[in-house]
Symmetry: C2
Subunit: 317 residues, 2 copies
């Protein structure tokens, strides 16, 4: 006999993720209750991942869990905030206990890693698997790194390497094995520590979830500016170059790869302090260009000529 | 050409719901930002409604919107809290602009009514329509009405009438017209004001979303108690009795009707103060029984005999 909704929640989603003195009441009542932290503001974001759209139905539960967590916590990272709690709404077409076991273990292990207790949720039936997470973060009042605060002349930076995730997915789909690239797709890293380290340096920030050009485009629109990027400085991993060659590596790094890296701007007068952010436990940080007046993103080749780029970004409809 | 995700959000989900000084940053960035209110705790709940499971795909957008809002705000009401903000994750199979127009207008008109600004969201593609709302409420610290705080001897009360929604849905499905019952299904009322009025009187509270017996059962389990209900006191509307007869009316009132009424307990010493809660702008409140030791819910007929009730509550799987 299949599990009921409540048995299912009890069996798979009832773990205590961690002690957190701000959680007054966890899951199981009509609402969870949080006590706000003095002097802190609350950042909130919600994100849905649907089977056959955002992930393959054949993927193991732990991969979906890692990607859901990364997508959501990456939004918290992009404000420079600290994760404080989350809620998880899970729609299932059937009760597949093997999948659920993998999924829920990975959810809780990830949440423990990022100190983000699961305080509420919902399990319902639907045509396919669909996961919506809502995540809360906390940040000292006035310190959040929004998209709209860049100025012309600010340097543009990214964390980590771009393009790996897109090729990782293609390799996974075709059954080819390349551990590093596939793992960048399956288990991306939300850049929480990097975001926090940049709180007093960055003027604006966004996470790269739809491809660098698309997401930097959102930052440019919000700041009413353009950007000039130096193609050769875009960080692409050696693994990616080896797999697809240099030209395609740069193309994938610019277009629709959801790497969950941070893209941010730093005022000129603070750029020399960027060295202080470099830490062995953080992802590498690379300067890739400069914010400019106007509303265009120009990508320059090594000889200074402008490279034409096709329509960037992932289209949902 | 169909709208892109961002055009769609701009066209349908970009309304400013209302001014709220606690919203530091609304939709459009990686996160929204809220400033917590001094001395208040934050209540949070998330709820999903899926096409063909929680609603019919043929239902107009404004009905789905009303029911999503009711289901979510009802959880806030059941804590005695005030709605403060919400996030909306919408999955669509196609861009149906007529449906979206109805849906988004009703979302914003409901949210304005309940002073609950939409501060963030997500639009994605999926196999069917699926709506996940996450709602936040605020309540003075320590005042939330949880399920676990009832004591033996406390009176059991409900707001409004029970059973209407279940029969309303059946009438809607069969194409029959009975304005009141159908509207109780299509446009249920989250009992926000009633919940707030009960903050200093009720010992425990839950909302009736899976049927009275099922939800009172959750309250009993959480409080480690049983309940004794007087069948003839269960409030059923005249419309419901007229439509299905007295016996079925009581049966539907007990079983899986998602009326979004509040069920709550009041300590004996405070029961005479319940008269002060009666206000012309609030739903009627009816005493239906008493909390008792043990772990059973007994439903008594007028002659005091125990009535056997079939398996209560809606089963998702």
């Amino acid at each position: 006999m299949p599990l009921t909704e409540f048995e299912l929640i009890k069996k798979y989603f009832n773990s205590v993720t961690l002690e957190n003195s701000n959680v007054v009441l966890g899951p199981g009542d009509d609402c969870a209750i949080l006590a706000p932290i003095n002097g802190q503001e609350i950042c909130l974001s919600t994100d849905t991942m649907n089977e056959d759209v955002h992930f393959l139905g054949s993927m193991p539960g732990d991969v979906i869990a890692s990607r859901v967590i990364a997508a959501n916590l990456s939004d918290i990272a992009a404000m420079g905030a600290d994760p404080s709690a989350c809620l998880l709404a899970v729609t299932l077409d059937e009760v597949n206990e093997i999948w659920l076991d993998q999924f829920s273990r990975a959810i809780f292990s990830n949440l423990r890693h990022y100190c983000c207790p699961l305080i509420g949720g919902n399990v319902s039936k639907g045509p396919k698997i669909s996961i919506t997470m809502t995540v809360l973060g906390s940040i000292p009042a006035g310190k959040a790194l929004v998209r709209s605060n860049a100025n012309a002349g600010d340097g543009i930076y990214v964390t980590g390497f771009l393009g790996d995730s897109k090729v990782g997915l293609e390799l996974l789909r075709s059954g080819k094995n390349q551990d590093y690239l596939v793992s960048r797709y399956c288990h991306p890293t939300p850049r929480i520590e990097e975001g926090k380290a940049l709180r007093n340096l960055a003027s604006s920030m966004i996470d790269v979830s739809d491809g660098l050009l698309a997401d930097l485009g959102h930052l440019c629109t919000a700041s009413d500016l353009g950007a000039e990027l130096d193609l050769s400085s875009i960080p692409v991993s050696g693994y990616l170059q080896e797999e697809v060659g240099k030209e395609l590596a740069f193309r994938f790094a610019l277009s629709d790869s959801d790497d969950y890296e941070l893209c941010f701007t730093v005022p000129k007068r603070l750029e020399n302090e960027m060295n202080n952010v470099e830490r062995s436990d953080l992802a590498p940080i690379t300067k890739i260009g400069t914010m400019i007046p106007g509303n265009q993103i120009k990508v320059l080749s090594e000889d200074g000529s402008i490279i034409e780029i096709e329509q960037p970004g992932y289209k949902h409809f």
